[in-house]
Amino acid sequence: MKFDVIIIGGGLAGMTAATALQTSGMRCAVVAEGLSLHNASRREFCAAGGTLLAGDRVVSGRFAGDRLVAVRTEKLGDIELEAENFVLATGKYFSRGLVADMDRVYEPLFGLDVDYDEDRSTWFDPSFAAPQKFLEFGVKSPGGLAVKDGAVIANLYPAGEVLAGLSSAQGDATAAIVKSATDAANAIGRK
């Protein structure tokens, strides 16, 4: 299936970018694993004619040169979702935009470059109430684009909490999340 933009993740960042792009006339699909707290924005997106793949999740991507060409999902099997541009709004650990194992933090869908501290002893502050460093980790995005093995991917835009330095688990980060999503949508719109 072909779309103009595929948005991976249906939380605040994903729905903000998706609704902006869909209402600007692009054909968008959102792949949203799990329900989010943002049902109202999902309604708006669907009303604007957007395609919502609820309860599905992206499992892999197909690259050509410096571009992401298509993704596959768990439920659609061999039917690829193709698009010109992609927004990665998969959030942090809870929503599995990042996965941590004992020694590292990685981005599980595409293996994007992640900003994190290899020394595990720095991840947590003993005081629950203090700021926690692990919540600062996230994918790198110089110039708003994702990076894989040091090379920029020309059409994959990370937005929201998957980004390094952005987390609403340390206090309200709604404005920053919305801004990152709007930035991604604007960058795609300018193309």
């Binding site: 299936m1 989010s36 309860g55 768990e74 439920k75 809870f94 004992m102």
Partner: protein, 412 residues
């Protein structure tokens, strides 16, 4: 080490976020039900300690699987609940549950005496009697039984012609198309044939077993599942993929056979598709060439059944229906209709069932479409009973929208 955490039905991935509780249609309407989180992953930890922690209230789960769609952690919540009912709920099923569940046992009997059965099922005093004696709610109109089953019709009118097609599939018709609504089967054959595809039945086909699972008849369900998987295996070996029309049968075969009944389907699962998915793929890849009727016009509202949501294949139906020129398709907001197979037929569930469906019914009546498009047979009963607006299976819609003769010519 510990990179991925996989427990049985992923129950340990549960983070207790409780999103499942916000989408559970039963929890919102039945205070006796503890909800998916507590009945599923929470309960499972204690059931592993001691079976005494099994709660009777798990029976209120209607297995719509909306909790699984909502879960951000991939926990198979509804499966956990069904599994617990299988493993710990030892009581023998009631006569009523057995009657409602044995769609293939009662079906043949009722079909043979269809006018009588339908007369009996529709008549008030009889309904009252069922209400009292076996606990089928009096407000329910039990599904009508057709006087001629689909299989009977097929053998008499269609079987012979099928050999003439180059491409062949096996059609898993399910109980509903066979006993209750043969027209759906007839439409299926017409559409498939128009696309140049021959339809074969699997003589051993048994009920998928969904109602038996829901009503605790596990041994029978497992036996039937094995027979079906043997039949599917043979069909695949002979080069025929299996195409289905029922979302619930399909979900049962693909997910619940291995998960709940421990019947392996790995050899055939990639060869089973819902008809909408099958046709969508064929048309998009250019293998199948539809020719649409001129002047077709319809305003339809699409209701995605719960099990279709869980399969995640609703997009195939909507994309397919959107291809029809003259079709105005309105996608209804995702809601459960409340019937959930045999669930809503039970006296104790009637009120809850109608309360669950109300948002959907209100939405449909506000839109007032020509008809509702929906793949699910039990949603059809519920929506038609509750809104008075007719519900059409997408296959039947295609049969109306396609110029069958021209399509047949284009696909020859």
């Amino acid at each position: 080490m510990q990179e991925t955490n996989i427990s049985a039905k992923n129950f340990e991935q549960c983070q207790k976020c409780s999103l499942c509780e916000t989408v559970c249609p039963v929890m919102a309407n039945n205070p006796k039900y503890a909800g998916p989180k507590r009945s599923g992953p929470d309960g499972e930890r204690y059931r592993l300690k001691n079976g005494i922690f099994f709660e009777d209230s798990l029976k209120y789960c209607l297995n719509c699987k909306r909790c699984e769609v909502a879960c951000p952690s991939g926990v198979r919540i509804a499966d956990l609940i069904q599994q617990a009912r299988i493993d710990y709920g030892r009581k023998a099923p009631k006569l009523r549950d057995m009657m409602l569940a044995s769609t293939d046992q009662v079906g043949p009997l009722a079909s043979a005496f269809a006018p009588l059965a339908n007369f009996g099922l529709g008549l008030s005093p009889v309904k009252g009697l069922m209400d009292i004696t076996i606990g089928v709610d009096r407000h329910r109109t039990l599904p009508k039984y057709a006087s001629e089953t689909f299989v009977h019709w097929f053998k008499k009118n269609a079987a012979a012609a099928q050999e003439g097609y180059k491409k062949q599939i096996s059609y898993f018709h399910g109980c509903y198309a066979n006993y209750n609504y043969p027209q759906l089967g007839k439409d299926f054959v017409a559409v498939m044939n128009a696309f140049g595809i021959g339809v074969q039945l699997m003589p051993e086909e048994r009920c998928c077993g969904v109602a038996k699972i829901a009503n605790g008849m596990i041994a029978t369900a497992t036996r039937d599942a094995r027979i079906n998987m043997n039949a599917f295996g043979r069909s695949v070996k002979e080069g025929r993929d299996i195409v289905t029309v029922s979302t619930t049968c399909t979900l049962t075969i693909l997910e619940e056979y291995p998960e709940l009944l421990k019947v392996d389907n790995s050899l055939v699962r990639d060869h089973v598709s819902l008809v909408e998915q099958y046709l969508y793929k064929g048309i998009v890849s250019g293998v199948l060439k539809p020719v649409w009727k001129e002047g077709f016009k319809a305003r339809a509202a699409y209701h995605c059944p719960c099990h279709q949501e869980r399969l995640g294949w609703g997009i195939f139906t909507t994309e397919l229906l959107k291809m029809i020129p003259g079709m105005e398709l309105i996608e209804l907001e995702s809601n459960c209709c409340g019937i959930a197979g045999t669930y809503g037929f039970k006296k104790e569930n009637y009120k809850v069932s109608q309360a669950i469906g109300k948002p959907l019914f209100d939405n449909i009546m506000a839109i007032a479409p020509d008809y509702v498009a929906c793949e699910c047979e039990t949603c059809k009963w519920q929506i038609e009973m509750s809104t008075g607006i007719s519900v059409k299976n997408p296959v039947s819609i295609l049969a109306e929208a396609l110029d069958l003769d021209k399509t047949a010519a284009a696909n020859r």
